[in-house]
Point group: C2
Chain length 262, copies 2
């Protein structure tokens, strides 16, 4: 009705092919000619704002959502009414896959900041996947990876102490930000301390205390929402991820601290 609508239609054309995070999202491995078919069913919504819901628990599954920019949290409501956060989602990640089983969203998705998401009608995606082996494969891969990361989270929640949980959480975010071209050493937490505690199965106070402790150990600097990682290897040690990446010789036992400008 207004000129702005025309703009929106134009924006729609600016889909997967031009999207900077293509290879983190569904299009990875999908041949160019099929990509256009995928673009055909995806629509890009207006930006959503902090606190906006993408979908709510109980909603019928209409679309999956891909985060384009910003961040989103998903949570289920336990039977006594409190929320359990099931994930924080960064650009390139697909939301709503847990709704395919019953055709109903089991959790709610809420935007943590001003974000942009792509809407992908599931019916269309499924039909297209049947005709496009690369897309089917990528869809299965994405779901499989989510199963894998859930398994890691279970280990964290089931076996690890509070410091290991928070350290693993920070390292996980660092890694995911890094893959998206952001700094691995410095990033903003878009979720509250409360959310972090909820996700990690810890009280808010414990999260806060651990942040303070890590800071006093020169592992990180905390300045409100801004986190700076100074000693990633040290964090790995706290997280219980011994020498996963670099060769772990004597170096694991040394390294007292790395001073950095305060």
């Amino acid at each position: 009705m207004t000129p702005s609508n025309v703009m929106n239609i134009k924006n729609l054309k600016q889909a997967c092919k031009a999207c900077s995070l293509g290879d983190l999202c569904l299009p990875l491995g999908v041949p160019l000619e099929d990509l256009e078919l995928l673009e055909g069913i995806i629509s890009r919504k207006r930006p959503v704002h902090r606190g906006d819901l993408l979908y709510q628990a109980g909603d019928p599954l209409g679309c999956l959502y891909a985060v384009r920019c910003g961040s989103v949290k998903t949570f289920v409501l336990t039977d006594d009414g409190e929320e359990q956060i099931t994930g924080f989602h960064l650009p390139g990640e697909l939301l709503g896959l847990d709704a395919i089983g019953d055709g109903v969203h089991p959790c709610t998705a809420l935007s943590l900041e001003t974000s942009s998401v792509c809407e992908i009608p599931f019916d269309g995606l499924e039909a297209l996947a049947g005709r496009t082996p690369g897309l089917q494969h990528q869809l299965l891969r994405i779901m499989s990876r989510e199963l894998q990361s859930d398994e890691q989270l279970m280990t964290l929640l089931g076996k690890r102490a509070s410091d290991a949980r928070l350290a693993a959480f920070l390292l996980n975010l660092s890694d995911r930000f890094g893959r998206r071209g952001f700094s691995r050493h410095e990033f903003n937490l878009t979720m509250s301390r409360n959310d972090i505690g909820n996700y990690l199965g810890l009280a808010v106070e414990t999260v806060s205390r651990m942040f303070s402790r890590f800071q006093s150990q020169d592992l990180i600097t905390v300045r409100r929402k801004l986190i700076t990682l100074h000693d990633i290897e040290g964090l790995r040690r706290v997280a219980g991820l011994h020498g996963q990446q670099a060769q772990c010789t004597a170096a694991c036992e040394q390294r007292p601290e790395v001073s950095a400008g305060g």
Copy 2:
């Protein structure tokens, strides 16, 4: 080489169509004519015994495995070498889906008793799913449901006390046994107390104490591996699953104990 091989070949023909748990497994929703194609790629192995491995962490993904009878546990090895159990799997359940992402099994699958499993080459399954919409849909559904159940487990591990965890675990098993035609009230635990504790993020001793407590509260009877549930509604209350099924009025506050023959 021996006559017994001939028997095995005959057994192979006795595939999905004749399988008693067809509608719990992959074939659900797959039309009859496509079912034969599915049967074509599935092979049924000899029984596996207690302690046998179906696959190990690090193995390349060759096949998915469907439990036909018996039970299997899957676990990842944490970086400091201890195992974290990620699931117990009953007949009709599909194992190895978490390997699709990287083409490598992230966890190990070990049979808890004498079991029988079907081997499903993933390549073939994927190719067939591309030609069979019903099969593709069922595969996506199975993976989605697993995501959903992981979310529930996260809530359990993150928020619930030890009694709620164990109660929820028993109810979950009861429900799954029930769906498979076994008793919902009485079943054998094929896993050790250690395994249960590992899975639920509890010490063995705590699991044992909770079993004793539930028994003294007349919620269950424990006789070694054999568990009998006497008061499912009571267990639901302990698990924090308030009035999910029946209406929960004043009864929730009353009911001091229900005596039963000891």
